[in-house]
């Protein structure tokens, strides 16, 4: 039961939980409390003093962020304490605090990137004095180097320490601190080394002034010129909610949107800074290979070539969908291949043995927010920090705030929390199955145990065997039961779950990825439709005729015989299904580049030339068909979680057999280079050369 306390705020009595801070209580009463250092997702520092309120009877104004309601003494007559948020005292106190903050703050708003979205600017207008009484020299602070992402103008810093707390508590790398003291206090990284966090960009949003700003976005635009579009990030399979800010058809920056179920208030650096890759290496017109040379062609020409090739024997045609393919394009391609009678289709360019079992098999069923309920976690073959930075942040959050026990099988990565390392190879899984001591005991006694299986464990030759082993573990330790599903597969590709959901896997008698590539080698597969799969070694396509549809001139386009230019994720309205199985809708922020077209429309146009016209003319009709064929897509923003957990038997997944001796490694090598957009980005390249070596050295 919550301990409710009465408090009188601005003359109105209110009942709030005792562990509310005064600031929360005041906000509940509808009063606005200015603040700089307080942030609801970070620890309380109480050092900016901007949130002062008056507690009638107390000798001094009180910092409302650091005082809890239960610590308030009632008045002498027993009536609840009186709090005033807009009295003369409060006004004077705020003006005083504001004046002190501004004493050493430069008046360089016209050249400051924070201008227009600056807390200090806004609050100085709202709560400050009219002029300054300070006529002495202001202090100046040397700028600090923090790496290729964060630009610093440290003279503007007001020492709120939000960045220090974020990097220490949420990102878990303790690289920023407040050095020196008093007038000389300054925020810095240790010896001005580059930040090595994969979430460092968030300190730019957290900084309430213009001290930490985005380096790649520097002096590009003012916030009021930007056109915001709320959408979904596709750099990993987390499905972080983002806002894409664009101007004149160009994406200028990406910032997070709060979604407590997924990314809370943060996004990874890759999601935030990949936008410069959207303007480089773009495919902006169709190409057809003539005499071994890719030459520009018209749409009609290119589509005619493709339609001709697709008219061949269905047995010799195959389709592969890549990591960034949107749901609509995969649906259209799936329907087209169905119409042509092609059975060789696969959306698993990494070859994971998923998609044959029930839907729970390949989802993160616990859900990201559900991690907070878990009390034991087994990670199998995953560098969660780089595969899904925000899932890792959630695990770290849970680890800090509860007694979460974490075990790890695979190469030990630095995940920012402490775990029991059970072994590098799959043998450790077998040992765990038989063991009753150590981590097995912890799993056994846990109320809500969960297993998190990385793609690194599944995309090997013995993936099916490892899947079976994990399933047995989930079964033995009671990870799946009515109301709790601790079976989690962590995907790295934004497109994967949607592909599996719609059955973009080989039809009965069809070839999977390995079969397609083997067929390409021996000549039995003659035409491959490659929908943005760039992570397959180009030599593997053999002599097959490759049709590449995608947005960037990466590995896939390099090997293609026909290139059909499509859209990047910022240029199309699309559904995305994240690793939890949550369907989310992304929106186009900017138009396609050059002659490029929306992906599903390309396939729709192609279907007409093939004589298999798809039965939809607009995106609504396509989605309607999608929802009818696969009802899971219609539950927007809904993650199934533990639905149907009682009927799910993980022990039967995969295949029996002895796994190999090789250590379980993460599926991704370089965090900054996992997809064509990131590989085209210069900022990511810079991060890769500067931050990745340090990250590796730490591991």
């Amino acid at each position: 039961m919550t301990d409710l306390r009465k408090v009188n705020i601005d003359g109105a009595e209110l009942e709030v939980p005792g562990d509310y801070t005064l600031m929360q209580a005041c906000e509940q009463a509808g009063a606005e409390i200015p603040r700089f250092c307080y942030h609801e997702r970070l620890s309380v520092a109480g050092n900016c003093r901007m949130c002062l309120v008056e507690w009638v009877g107390a000798p001094k104004p009180q910092a409302s962020c650091a005082l809890q309601v239960k610590d308030l003494r009632p008045n002498r007559d027993g009536s609840p304490a009186n709090i005033l948020t807009s009295s003369e005292t409060v006004k004077k106190a705020r003006e005083g605090v504001m004046e002190f903050l501004l004493i050493n703050h430069p008046l360089d708003c016209p050249i400051c990137d924070q201008g227009g979205e600056c807390d200090l600017q806004d609050q100085a207008m709202g709560y400050g004095r009219v002029g300054s009484r300070f006529d002495m020299n202001k202090r100046a602070v040397d700028d600090k180097y923090m790496g290729p992402l964060v630009a610093t103008v440290m003279t503007r810093c007001i020492q709120c320490t939000r960045c220090v707390r974020f990097i220490t508590e949420v990102a878990g790398v303790s690289e920023i601190g407040l050095a020196s003291r008093g007038e000389d206090a300054e925020i810095t990284t240790y010896l001005e080394k580059s930040l090595t966090s994969e979430m460092s960009g968030n300190i730019i949003d957290l900084c309430p002034v213009g001290a930490l700003t985005s380096k790649p976005y520097a002096f590009n635009a003012r916030p009021w010129e930007l056109e915001p579009t709320e959408s979904i990030d596709v750099m990993d399979a987390v499905g972080s909610n983002i806002r894409i800010d664009s101007r004149g058809g160009r994406v200028l920056r990406i910032v997070p949107v709060i979604n407590d179920d997924i990314n809370e208030e943060w996004i990874s650096d890759k999601a935030r800074f990949v936008w410069d890759g959207l303007g480089r290496q773009r495919l902006d017109r169709p190409y057809v290979r003539k005499d071994g040379q890719l030459t520009p062609a018209s749409w009609d020409e290119a589509l005619a070539v493709v339609a001709d090739k697709l008219g061949g024997d269905p047995e010799s045609i195959a389709a592969i969908a890549g990591d960034l393919a949107c749901t609509e394009s995969m649906k259209a391609l799936n329907d087209l291949m169905d119409g042509l009678g092609v059975k060789n289709i696969d959306c698993r360019q990494d070859g994971a043995p998923l998609g044959e079992g029930p839907r729970q098999e390949y989802l993160m069923n616990t859900t990201i927010a559900g991690i907070e309920q878990a009390d034991a976690l087994l990670i199998v073959g995953s560098n969660v920090r780089h595969e899904a930075a925000l899932v890792n942040a959630r695990i770290r959050k849970t680890w800090i705030h509860s007694d979460l026990e974490i075990g790890m099988v695979g190469v030990p990565y630095d995940l920012t929390y402490v775990y029991d390392h059970l072994g590098e190879t799959a043998d450790a899984l077998e040992t765990l199955l038989k063991s009753t001591k150590g981590f097995a005991r912890k799993l056994k006694s846990a109320k809500n145990p969960m297993i998190l299986i990385g793609q690194g464990a599944l995309t090997r030759k013995d993936g099916a065997q490892i899947l079976r082993l994990c399933g047995k573990i989930a079964d033995k330790f009671g990870m799946v039961r009515e109301g709790w599903n601790g079976w989690n597969v962590l995907h790295t590709a934004a497109a994967r779950v949607a592909g599996l959901d719609m059955g973009f896997v080989p039809c009965k008698g069809g070839r999977g990825l390995a079969g397609i590539l083997a067929g390409a080698k021996d000549g039995s597969v003659k035409t491959i439709y490659n929908l943005g799969a760039d992570e397959i070694n180009e030599d593997l396509f053999g002599d097959a005729f490759v049709i590449y549809q995608g947005s960037h001139g990466d590995a896939g386009a390099h090997r293609a015989d026909v290139i059909l230019p499509g859209c990047a994720y910022t240029e199309k309205d699309a559904l995305w299904v994240n690793t939890e199985g949550r369907v989310q809708m992304g929106f186009a922020a900017v138009p396609p580049k050059g002659d490029a077209k929306t992906d599903w429309k390309i396939i729709r146009a192609l279907s007409e030339l093939c004589g298999r016209t798809l039965p939809y003319d607009d995106i609504d009709a396509l989605r309607k068909k999608l929802f009818t064929d696969h009802p899971t897509f219609s539950g927007l923003n809904h993650a199934p979680g533990a639905e149907g957990a009682a009927d799910f038997a993980p022990a039967k997944l995969g295949a029996a057999g002895k796994p190999l001796k090789a250590p379980l490694k993460s599926a991704i090598g370089d965090f900054y280079f996992t997809n064509p957009v990131a590989r085209a980005s210069q900022v990511m390249a810079q991060c890769s050369t500067e931050c990745a070596p340090i990250m590796e050295a730490a591991e």
């Binding site: 602070v141 040397d142 303790s174 690289e175 920023i176 601190g177 407040l178 050095a179 020196s180 003291r181 007038e183 000389d184 300054e186 990284t189 240790y190 010896l191």
Partner: protein, 224 residues
């Protein structure tokens, strides 16, 4: 005062000596298990002594590694406290009190002596024997003006200084002669220069009937 930074020139490496580790170990034991980081300030102080009066970056890192904490947290503490020297100091590091009582009693003259004998404030003398800085009140105002000298022997106070005895003191230290901490004139501690005038009745304490205190245990009251 300006922002405190690490010295430009740093040694390549630094290793905690066995003696330092042992001494830090005493401090770590004073805190509950897992709270070894609480021993940071004594740890830095011990390492500063080992490193010759200042804290090079590798020494900060060695302490951080020994106490299992991030470098940044050690750096914050080392830059916060001005008694941690971040740049090399002389063999004898003179900390001259310049606060009002000492200043009224002639600290200004002592500064001139330092400037003459050692060099400008904050510098190390050419022979590496001395360095000096001005500090705020060291709490020995009754014996103003005074200085603190940090060296391998410890951190002793030298009080009741004037130009002459201060110069002698520095010369003695430079020559490696033994010096006596405390007042440098004829005073005994902070008694009047003419000798104690109160509380000098012989056997005064013997006459007072002393009560046994609740925490004095079985020890004999008043026993030496």
């Amino acid at each position: 005062m300006s922002a405190r930074r690490l010295a430009k020139e740093q040694p390549d490496s630094f290793a905690l000596s066995a003696a330092s580790k042992k001494e830090i170990g005493i401090w770590i034991k004073k805190y509950p298990k897992g709270r070894q980081a609480s021993a940071l300030i004594p740890g830095l102080w011990i390492v500063q002594k080992q490193a010759g009066g200042w804290l090079p970056a590798p020494a900060l890192e060695a302490v951080a590694a020994h106490l299992d904490m991030p470098y940044m947290r050690v750096y914050e503490v080392a830059t916060f406290y001005t008694m941690f020297n971040l740049a090399p100091v002389g063999e004898h590091h003179v900390q001259l009190c310049g606060t009002t009582p000492c200043w009224l009693r002639g600290a200004g003259d002592l500064k001139k002596v330092c400037e003459k004998k050692i060099g400008p404030k904050g510098s190390v003398s050419a022979d590496g024997k001395f360095s000096w800085i001005e500090v705020e009140c060291l709490g020995a105002c009754a014996n103003a003006p005074m200085i603190q000298i940090s060296n391998a022997a410890g951190d002793d106070y030298y009080e009741d200084l004037d130009v002459d005895n201060f110069e002698t003191l520095l010369d003695d230290l430079a020559a490696g002669r033994k010096v006596k901490p405390g007042p440098q004139n004829t005073r005994h501690t902070s008694e009047p220069i003419t000798g104690a005038v109160t509380l000098n009745t012989k056997g005064f304490y013997n006459k007072v009937k002393q009560k046994k205190l609740p925490n004095s245990g079985k020890a004999k009251v008043g026993a030496k």
